[in-house]
Structures are given as structure tokens and as C-alpha cells.
Symmetry: D2
Subunit: 270 residues, 4 copies
């Protein structure tokens, strides 16, 4: 039940961030797997072209220990260093500077979280870090709340992409506020990615149906019972949602739709 025929129409459906062009609209994390071998196989199955790397958590430099690069080839995938584990602007900026010195990465993902248990994006610290990173010449994709005004401001400051949360990190709750994700998309001139909150395939499809440019996830794949198979599910879900968005869904309609007021009298009962 696999293989979608690749047509010219689809080959043309690419998206661009920071001057780079991608066909896959699924970005995946590299953490939380059983081991690096599973990490590599799941990412392969996902079809992702970009992978996020938690600079603080991943071994990128000690050749004596297993290295991510041995399982996720940096020549094949665009590494996107992120600031997972940073709870202040200073930490985030410092972490990305070190990453650039070590690996030369200039395109980065900024996330500054508030404290547990909510781990919600700390927008004040995020703005502060973004300002510093832009001054340093980074190209920054920014994880943010689902606030359309904040998202617009990030864009105006110079973020190359905005990445509102679908739901809190690691929750798997699915897209909690599609109205606001949609508002951000309608209002944006840079790519919008839904980042965090996807729990299963239909969540990813829904995110794409809202019109976003791509989806980023980690736990939904890594914490599934069978991560590799879930990675394939997510690949197909993102493609499904993208095609559905472009295809333009049928209108919803029904005689007894409870979302429209029931006018007593019109319907013929008291």
C-alpha cells in the first residue's frame, strides 16, 4: 500500500528557508531514541532533509563515544542546531556560538523555554536571544508561542522562519489552537512551521492542512512503540496534509449542523 507516483507537480512543491530549498516538509529531532542506530533508521524512514540537533545534549565531537554523524550523515541531511536545554537568552546565544565554532553551522533553531512543568516558550528571552543572534549574523528559525503578534515581530526582526507550538513539547496532545496557527500563517511572509505537540499521524496531517510550510517533531516518532514505522507514518501524513491543503477540501455541510443556531419555528417544532 505504498509508493505515491512522483509527478512533476509534486516535484515543484518545494519550500525555501534561508536560501535553501527542500522537498520534504517534515523536520525531525535526533534525540529520545533507544540508541543512535534506531535514530538513524527512523530518520531515514521519515524522508526528512533537515534534522535538529540539541547541541548541548548530543555528542558531536568525542570520537571515542558513538557519534550522531555516524548514523545521520551530515552530507545527506541539513543539521539544524537547536538550543534545547537552554532556559535563558544568554545560554541560548552561547550555545549557538559554540556550535558555529565547532561545526560552522549558521542556520540555527532558537528555542528558549520556561521552567518545568510547562516548558512553554519564554517569549521575552526569545526576543532577546534573537536580537543577539541576528547581530552575530546567524540565520534563525524561532520556536514561539501561538501569538500572531509575537510571530510577526519575530519576522520583522529578521527571523528566517517562525515555529509556533502545536501543543507543549513532549505532550503529544495534537494541535491545540488551530485558529491561532492559521492566523499566524495568514499573516506571515516567512515560512511557518508547526513545532511540538504532534502525537500521531492525523495531527501532522491537520497541521499541514492549516497551510503551514512544514512540521517539526521528535517524541511522536521516538516515543512510538515502533519508531521506524511511525516515521513512515509521519512522512505520509505530512504529504497527505500538504496535498489536501493544495487540493482544497470539500465544504462541510449538513442539515443538522449544530454549529449554526437552531431557529425555533423555522424547523417546525416549538
Amino acid at each position: 500500500m505504498d509508493t505515491i507516483p512522483t509527478t512533476a507537480a509534486t516535484l515543484d512543491d518545494t519550500w525555501e528557508v534561508a536560501g535553501l530549498r527542500f522537498r520534504s516538509r517534515l523536520i525531525v529531532g535526533t534525540g529520545r531514541y533507544k540508541d543512535l542506530e534506531e535514530t538513524g533508521r527512523a530518520i531515514d524512514a521519515s524522508g526528512a532533509e533537515i534534522v535538529t540537533v540539541a547541541v548541548r545534549r548530543v555528542n558531536l565531537g568525542d570520537p571515542a563515544a558513538p557519534m550522531l554523524q555516524d548514523f545521520v550523515d551530515p552530507k545527506r541531511y541539513t543539521y539544524l542546531p537547536n538550543t534545547a536545554g537552554c532556559f535563558t537568552a544568554q545560554d541560548a546565544v552561547r550555545t549557538l556560538r559554540l556550535a558555529r565554532e565547532a561545526g560552522g553551522w549558521n542556520l540555527v533553531k532558537l528555542e528558549v523555554l520556561g521552567p518545568p512543568p510547562f516548558l512553554y516558550p519564554d517569549m521575552r528571552a526569545t526576543f532577546e536571544a534573537l536580537e543577539a543572534l541576528l547581530k552575530d549574523g546567524f540565520q534563525v528559525m524561532v520556536y514561539c508561542s501561538d501569538d500572531p503578534i509575537a510571530a510577526k515581530r519575530l519576522e520583522e526582526m529578521g527571523a528566517v522562519a517562525v515555529m509556533p507550538l502545536g501543543a507543549p513539547i513532549g505532550s503529544g496532545l495534537g494541535i491545540q489552537n488551530p485558529v491561532m496557527i492559521r492566523a499566524i500563517i495568514e499573516n506571515a511572509k516567512v515560512p511557518v512551521l508547526v513545532d511540538a505537540g504532534v502525537g500521531t499521524a492525523s495531527d501532522a496531517a491537520l497541521a499541514m492542512e492549516l497551510g503551514c510550510d512544514a512540521v517539526l517533531m521528535n517524541s511522536a516518532i521516538a516515543h512510538a512503540r515502533e519508531p521506524v514505522r511511525m516515521a513512515r507514518a509521519m512522512k505520509a501524513a505530512v504529504e497527505a496534509g500538504r496535498h489536501a491543503f493544495l487540493a482544497g477540501r470539500m465544504p462541510r455541510q449538513y442539515a443538522a449542523d449544530p454549529s449554526s443556531p437552531l431557529h425555533a419555528g423555522v424547523i417546525g417544532r416549538n
Copy 2:
């Protein structure tokens, strides 16, 4: 952003109805398209192996008019005659007898609908028609309400598959009652297909994530702005949902989950 690598694992994931084995879990209707040429292209893109044919509405026999068979090859697709347009048990039975005489079809889909505007399955007439069709030796897949007891009874009478509605025909509202669909699935020994109600790709993925064997749709593809592209979306969505079901989703979890009671005091505010 296409082509999922076909692995042995997926090739093995087939389902069976009435002794026939299928790889595609998407069944599509042949009506409501602009013309038969579009019908053929959309069905091709959907990857379906079974197509439903409204015996009363489709030209299967007049060689002077355009014929479905010229666009949807009966050698490639399993034709599943249905009783669309029949509002009584007698009509439904008569229609399928004529279909068998004309085309030799023995595997059929029974649907008997109540009157507009609701077009809900008429279960009493459905039971009556099923009984007559089984006596006649038909193998019958049955469209039904999302009532787990009725579904079980259909199975016990001899239906080869039960097909509860996701939402009313043509509504595009998505799966309205996942709890009951799930109950039917858990309780069934024959294949369960969600039939009617799918509006977009995420709806189809969700149906599969509930554990059903396949999904049947028509308007969601035919009434999309671009039916052929939506057919591809649905193909990918059904695969995504199936893989996600088999992969076993991550648990939902969050500190502030509003579905669990908030115990005043426990949380430390008045």
C-alpha cells in the same frame, strides 16, 4: 516530497474480505466527478483496488454513451456494486439482483438510506435487505449506523464486512463519534470500514488510527477543488493512519491536562 520506500513489512500488511486480499485500504466511489475522464484519473491517483459503483446511476451498458468501464478498467479494479439511491429493502435487493445478472457481481455493498435531509442508514430496512441478499447467495458489505450492537448483529447474520458511517453522507464533517467506531472495531470479527463522512486527509488518517481495516469515500475526493490531487492526499493519509495505528502512538501527557480533575488545594491555590 513523495515516494515511500516499499518494504516487505508493508507488502505484508494486507486485508481480506470475502476471500479476496487487498493491499490498498482506500475504497473510492465513482460518482460526483465532473466527467468520467476525471473519475478515472482520480481513482488512479488514489491507489484504490476496489471502487464502488452505483448500479442505478452509472451507465454500465449503453455503448452509445460514455461508459465507466472505459475509464476505470474492470480488470484492474474490483467493482463493488452498491445500492445508492435505494430507499427500501425491496429496491436494494432488486437493484443488486439486476447487477448480478448484468455483470456477474456477487460481492456487493448494501446501503439503504432514510429520507433526506438526513440520509442516515435505515437499519431496519438494511437488516431486511441483508437477509434476502444472503439467501440469494450474495456476499454483502453493509453500510450501517455507528451502533456496535447492530454491527455485531450484521456480522452474525453473515455480512462479510460492516461499514459504519463516520458522519452523514456528503457532509465532510469528519469522524463524529470515534468512541463508537472504536467499540465496533474492538467487537468485530469481520473487517470494519469507515464509510462516509471523511472531509479531508486528516479525517482519513484518524479513521485508520482507530484501527479500522479500510476507509471508503467519494465526495471528499470528487468535490475537492482538485480531485486528482486530493485522491493522492487520501492515498497517503490512509497509509499514514494505518502505519500510525500499527506503530502505536506515544502517550498523551501534560502537567496541565484539563481532562483530569483539578483538585483545589493539591495545586496550591485557594
Copy 3:
């Protein structure tokens, strides 16, 4: 924060079943409480005028044991005997005949459930029992699935009210299929009551906003941490939902409503 001023307008808002007129639109069960004293206090707080009594389970006759009548005054409340615990039409009919002999009740609630774990209404047995009860001269309110055709047929047979489930008995899941509840309401000439599935106050309000005539519940009150307070919550919720239905809600509207298709181009991004 209590006491709503009673105006003439509200006093006039009554409903009628089997020739009896009621002001309260909340019907409550008498089972599942800690003890009969709590039962009595909760029912008092609920403002209910009708209470259901599970004939098979409640002591209505042994003066040596605590009796429901001592805590829930049959002069103050209309007792509505029901067939809880009956899994066949025969059992249900026999139970209500015994109840009529013992207590003279003629207005009854019929429910015939399928087997655990789903406890869904067994509609075939329900039709059969209804026919027998109507021949016997009972006035029957009927618990049923959310199937608008079945509900109409019950009405046409002579049921004095139809009572579709909001969700399975004891689940507390809330109204699972508002579209179908709404279809039943629009289509009915007898009172429609949502019966089963309410979990908390907002569920009861929502049921009333759909336009039903009354709501029936038991576990939502009896299994709350504080049943008496929850009974007051439900009283207020049913009144709230009824007034909201009559008042006619504001239209839903928003620029970024994700329920309408996002037309690429119209919005100005690719």
C-alpha cells in the same frame, strides 16, 4: 452567587410529556449514591421533578430495610420506573408490569441494553419491548441510540418521548455526536431528552443548547466528589443551556477560522 430572579417568561417555559407538565428540565436517577440520605439531598438540590427508579434494584416494598420513598417523597416527585438491568425485551416488559402492579405507575422509561462492556442500547429488543408495552397501555419514554430514523420510528409507534444517548452509560464523556442529537431534535414531534453521557455541567448546558427538551443523568451527580453540590451545578447548567437556546447565540466568526478553506492566493501567500 445564586438566585436567578424568577420571571413570568421563565415560569411559562415548561415542557410536557404524557399529559404532564414540568418546569424542571433535569431528570435524575436515584441509584449509585453512598446512601439514601445522600440520594435525597442530591435530588432536592437538583430541582428535579421527575426521578428514575430502577425497579429491579431499588427497595420499594420491604419496610424493614431503608426505603427510597422515605428519602425521595413520591408525592413531591414523579417516579419514573425504568428497566435498568434488563438485557432482553421480555425482562423489560415483565419488570414494568410488576412495577405497575406494585405501584400503579403507567408512565415508564424503557431501556434495553446490550452486553458489557459497551452497554449500548439494543434497538431491536427496544422496538420489541416498546410494542408489547404500548399494547399493554403503558406510556413509554424510550432510551435509544442517536439514530434519527430509529428515533422517528419509536415516535411513530407511540413512544411519548425519545431519549438518545449523549455517550455510553456511566462514561461521563459528554455529548459525542451533537450532529445526530440535533437531527433527532429537528425531526421529532415528541419531546427529546439527552439521556446518559453527561459528565459535568458544561455537558448538560451543551445538551440543552442543541435544543432538547430535557436531560437525564445519574452518575455525573452520584459519582462526583460532592454529589449535592454537583446536583446544584447541574440544575444551573440545564437552566443556563435552556436560556441560551431560547436566547439565540451570537454567530461564530473569525478572520482566521480554520474550518473554512484557506484559499491560496486570496490571502496573499503562496
Copy 4:
């Protein structure tokens, strides 16, 4: 079907903001009505003790024109001046200073919105205005996004209450993100009010069930077909939701709950 008996338990259930104690947990706006007479009657029916007043829009001073005070008695209601119509921090601060000079109000509601069509709270401008108002000695209740970190920061700066949006102003969409509203409530030491987004009674009940201290609304009442009746609905809904929260709802449970993963094998089908 009215009048909830007022018990001591309820009389004790008050909430406090800025040293003032209230029994009603419903705060209502004074704008958007047909005329001031309807405004007065709806507010009376709502049972509110606090009303918001859009300083820029309401005639509080011209004795030749109809004046709000003639219909909504300032001795009976606590007037809460707000900054509706202000799109910058400067405007908001200036508006409230003028209000204080004119009417002596010190307890105020701050809202600074972003541009149409989204009218989402502009959090940066809100922080800036709050800082200035606190320096000026105002006691400030603050309309904000549903961001738990921003809400905490407002509290730490000195806001006397935080008021996250349920949905965009005037949308009537209901509570869009209960998870985040709940997170804000669990995390707060000052009162949390859901402000904006309520469309009908069940929305208000749900907001209270999440554990917030009060609900603020305007359009849901003023734009109902019958505003006075809807005001009564909202009074009852807020009481219902508050009682339900305190009573502690029953657990949700069902054999076929689709929110838990269906383990193939456990259920006994392939």
C-alpha cells in the same frame, strides 16, 4: 425552572481582587447593545457586580446625551474602566489617566490589542503599559494571551489579576486552548479570569470548570438574539461551572476510549 436555594456554602464562595470581595463570578461589558436601556436590563439579569466601561467609547460626562450611569448605577456596580480601542501602550496609559481624573477610578482593566483582523493582545505593549500604570499607582487587571510565562510575569510585575483570552475578541468561538488556560490557573497566585471568546452558556461553564476565578464577556450577551435572556443564561452557566469545579467531576471512562492506544492482540483481532 429557576431559583437555586442560596446556602451558606455558596455565600462563602467569594473571590477577591485588589482588596474587594465579590460573589458574582461574571463580569460583563457595557457596549455593543442596541441602546442603554437594554444595556441596563441585561446587566441586571447577569447578576454581575463588576462592569467594564470602554472609557474612550462611552459617554460618562455629557449630560445632554444618554449616560451609562443612568442605566447602570455606579453605586450598585463596580465600574472597571478599560482601554478598548487603544492600540499602543501610550494610548492605554493616557486613557486610564484621564479616566482616573474624571471618575476617580483606580482599579482598571488594561488591554492593548494588535491590529485587525486578529485583534490579539499585543503583549509587548501590554507589559510596557502595565509598568507605567503600576508606577502611577493603578491597580491593574490585565488582558493577555494564553501564555503561562507571560501571565506569570504580569503577576510578578504587580498585576492584581490576569485575564487570558479564551478566543479572539468578538469571535464567540469558545475556549480554544483549555490546556494553557489550565496551566495559567495552576501557576497563578492572583485571580485568573477568562476574558473574550465565550459564545454561549456551555463555553462559560467550561471556563469555570477549568478552575478560573471569573469570566468576562460582552458580545456573547449583547449580540445574542435576546440579550437579556442570554444574560440570565450566563449567570446560571457561571454558577454551574463554579459548582461543578468545586464538586469535582466524575472520572471519564469507557471500554472503547479512542484516546488510549488500541493494542493489537490485546483486543483479539488482527
